[in-house]
Amino acid sequence: MLKLEGINKIFNEGTPDEKIALDNINLHLAPGDFVTIIGSNGAGKSTMMNMISGALTPDFGSVTIADQEVTRLPEYKRSKYIGRVFQDPMAGTAPTMTIEENLAIAYSRNTKRGLRGGVSRSRKDFFRTSLEKLHLNLENRLNAKVGMLSGGERQALSLLMATFTRPAILLLDEHTAALDPSRAELITNLTKQLVEENQLTTLMVTHNMQQAIDLGNRLIMMDKGQIILSIDEEKKPNLTIPDLMAEFENIRGEKMNSDRALLG
């Protein structure tokens, strides 16, 4: 479903600030794979997400989504295939527009936008039944402006908008990191539910090791622009945090220095 081959990216090339962001990244996702990504700050997790979404293009290497080579395709063309939820709850929705208008925008992802009304009656019904799954009572507030919702509600809405058109790839970029623990749990459960329901091929970046272990069928660890550890489907169910810490020490010959990675 998703293939990254030999991806390299250097920021500020030729200046004193030169930084190798991605160093020969190879990653294959089969349909239905749910891969969680962990790694300390600056490991290249977000850069990799931006390569897939098209916000950045690699210096060399190729990106293939659903058997289509998309390496040079601009973000807006590629996003037909990609659902994305950002870390910032404000980033995924339009605040001055209503809930139903936001959903209508997400709904038109796959089609060419024309002069049809964005919110038709049949779409409204669909929006309502989709919102019911969130159990946040948003289905009765279709005409409320999204700016009036709480961070958790907005993130749940973003998640729904990213998934309900069943994109080929779902990218979750630390999408629970900016929420308080109870909201984060709500969003984590919703993520599990929506991914299973729609059988989405998913890539999730997280700082929370427990979350990375609990969710998904595969796990990769990144450091300094490389994928240094890849846990497959068979090994993942028995994985624990101490295992991961030990593996990291083994590979890198140093202790993992991120408290944040532990505490989430």
Binding site: S53, Y76, F86, A91, T96, I105, A106, R113, R116
Partner: protein
């Protein structure tokens, strides 16, 4: 006298409302401060006047003016999206470029010159004279005038009601089309572009195209308004657009402050009303003895400044009051709590 003077202001206000709707589309919906308006308003007026003088049908002339405005707006959009020039500067560059272009457009009517600073339309056929010839036969004017003079006892009455009727129909039609458009898929995408570019890009919309389209539509409306003003006042002048953007902004802000922005339907109505109110304020200000026509730009600037500042001051005071009230309530609670303890 005052009634007829205000009547004229309302007529003009309704025409300027089309321009204000264009400004609303860029400033509010797209969140793009577009200064092309000062130029594209004149482009509309110049194009329509030029074609009318050259003998084309006024409706064709007006439609061409709208297209010219659309192109001008798209150019500003391209400067910004493809040329990566800052929004304000893109608009200013286009406005300056249009000044020369407008002189050339009007120059097409001159026999021994390339450029021309103005075109009078005194005896020309305009959309208003055309409508008047149809309207005059209906006899509604005489009936209304009789009513005003005999029943209400007014000494003077407007010479015709035809103009206000036709401009009202045009402006309201545009308002309703704008309401509808902003709820279509493309309209929603344009609104989201002004709201959250990153989000709309992640839902497969090309924000560059949407910005160009939005600016084009906005300036098409502005040019339409310019074309109608030229025909209404029977005159096109290369300087008639100076400060137009501020007038448009004043209309938007006044309207929004008075009528609110709860829904799109209400906001566009507020913008139209704001444009009319602005013209009335203008007319009244001109009747003050010690003010001169030349002072109007200053007055417009002051109106916009007040409209921007006063709501902030009011909000601050309301907040202060709320806080004071809460403090008193809190003290009250504490006092009661103290009593209980005792």
């Amino acid at each position: 006298m005052l009634f007829t003077a205000l009547f004229g202001s309302v007529e003009q206000g309704i025409i300027y409302a089309i321009m204000a709707l264009g400004v609303y589309l860029t400033f509010r919906v797209l969140d793009f401060p577009d200064l092309t308006v000062d130029g594209s308003f004149v482009t509309g007026a110049a194009t329509a006047a030029m074609m009318i003088v050259l003998g084309y049908h006024p409706i064709l002339a007006t439609i061409t003016a709208i297209v010219a405005g659309f192109i001008a707006g798209c150019m500003t959009g391209l400067l910004h999206t493809k040329g990566k020039i800052n929004p304000l500067l893109s608009g200013i560059l286009m406005m300056i470029a249009l000044y020369s272009i407008n002189l050339r457009i009007m120059g097409l009517t001159a026999e021994n010159a390339i450029v021309r600073p103005n075109i009078p339309l005194l005896n020309s056929d305009t959309v208003f004279t055309q409508f008047q010839s149809f309207w005059g036969n209906l006899g509604i004017d005489t009936a209304l005038t009789d009513f005003l003079k005999n029943t209400l006892g007014l000494k003077t009455a407007p010479s015709t009601w035809g103009t206000i009727i036709i401009v009202l129909i045009i402006t309201l039609a545009i308002k309703f089309i704008a309401d509808w458009f902003l709820k279509t898929e493309v309209g929603l995408a344009i609104r989201a572009t002004g709201d959250n570019k990153r989000m709309i890009r992640s839902f497969s919309a090309n924000t560059d195209t949407l910005i160009v389209l939005g600016l084009g539509l906005s300036n098409a409306l502005v040019a339409f308004s310019g074309a109608l003003i030229a025909q209404y006042s029977k005159f096109a002048d290369v300087n008639m657009g100076i400060g137009m953007i501020v007038i448009g902004l004043a209309s938007v802000i006044i309207g929004e402050a008075i009528f609110g922005t709860k829904t799109i339907f209400r906001t566009t109505l507020a913008v139209v009303a704001g444009a009319i109110i602005y013209r009335i304020i203008y007319a009244v200000a001109l009747r003050i003895e010690w003010l001169d026509t030349g002072d109007m730009k200053l007055i417009t600037a002051v109106i916009v400044i007040l409209a921007l500042v006063i709501p902030q001051v009011l909000e601050k005071q309301r907040e202060k009051k709320r806080k004071a009230k809460r403090r008193i309530e809190r003290q009250h609670e504490l006092a009661q709590g103290g009593n209980r303890l005792a």
